[in-house]
Symmetry: C2
Subunit: 212 residues, 2 copies
């Protein structure tokens, strides 16, 4: 039995969607960062790095979104969430997801956690001020990829890169994270992902259906 | 035929080692960042994100180290560089590599590229000053994992997580990146990786044999 540790609206929404798309049997455990749940010993035993998502399996705990998603795709091959039998296509999918992890995700954290990067109020202000520039650069590369009219990130077939992009592009609606108006193809893509029943169920469960 | 775009001493050393471990037939193309090669149109056609490594395959270009390494492991299964037939073990290996990508790698970049995060000299100084604290936190989690006496990152069997850790732990020798004295298990692990013929060949080719 799988158990997902998640926080509503965090990037744990991506494996949450993946589990719904897969039709998996799983349980959810809420990690409330506002109460400091992520720093409590019982969660640090699950993930010493104090982050969500963490996916508890019969074999052990998996962390890091692209790794978790690869595992879900392989565990539920009938759901067709990735080209699990094609090493090139699988790696290409993972590269897209890791690009978001190592660029956009890291950049957005400069708003919520400037203290992760540097101490002091002046540094925090400088870190936050830089976000729109970097964010727009990163999303521009993705916009270019989608601009050939493909419905999904990797072409004609939905994959786990689609909810990955959907969740991070949704954060653009928040202030100071970049300019969604620059990215029409990404916005159209987001509407397609948003329409999927699995995504709607997750937004409902995470209490975000009316504001996402 | 595979073609690796690399810069000596950069994290492209990891797939370089992987290709040597695999006994792959491949060519190497040097991207000299000091001459701005990574910003030239011919390289941006390979990787619009202007980074190494990039691995050109018959099907297209792969980027992002954990994705490239997963592909190499699957393409050369006889080399036994990963548990390619076990989705849990494969994801667990990738999670370790992605942990380094999203923590240690990002942290070290605050020294070489503070302008990536924030503008101004004061912010750059604050970004650089924070690196040892964060770096020590991240390596402490890895040190704890290795402290049960296992020879390799994932236990008794060498995998591509081993050169991954080796390369990033080697950067600790540089100034202001953390304190290698805190990590005896990681240093002993590094000596084991350094002794492998494939690693020695890569250090030789990259011109680092006498200073790495």
């Amino acid at each position: 039995m799988l158990e997902l540790y998640y926080m509503p609206g965090a990037c744990s929404m991506i494996p949450h969607i993946a589990l719904e798309e897969a039709g998996a049997t799983y349980t959810r455990t809420l990690v409330d960062f506002s109460r400091g749940d992520h720093r409590k010993p019982e969660f640090l035993r699950i993930n010493p790095n104090a982050r969500v998502p963490a996916l508890v399996t019969e074999r052990g705990v998996l962390t890091e979104n692209p790794a978790i998603l690869g595992y879900i795709a392989c565990r539920f091959p009938q759901a067709g969430l990735a080209d699990t039998g094609d090493p090139y296509a699988f790696a290409d999918m993972q590269a897209f997801q890791m690009f978001i992890a190592t660029t956009i995700h890291i950049t957005f954290r400069q708003i919520s956690r400037p203290d992760y990067y540097a101490d002091g109020e002046a540094a925090a202000a400088a870190l936050r001020a830089k976000v729109p520039e970097r964010s727009n650069e990163h999303f521009t590369l993705i916009e270019r990829k989608l601009s050939d009219g493909r419905p999904w990130v990797h072409g004609g077939r939905y994959s786990l890169s689609d909810p990955y992009l959907f969740v991070f592009a949704s954060y653009l609606k928040l202030d100071d994270r970049g300019d969604p108006a620059l990215f029409p193809a990404i916005r159209a893509h987001g509407a397609r992902v948003r329409a999927r029943p699995a995504v709607q169920r997750v937004l409902e469960v995470e209490g975000l259906a009316d504001r996402w």
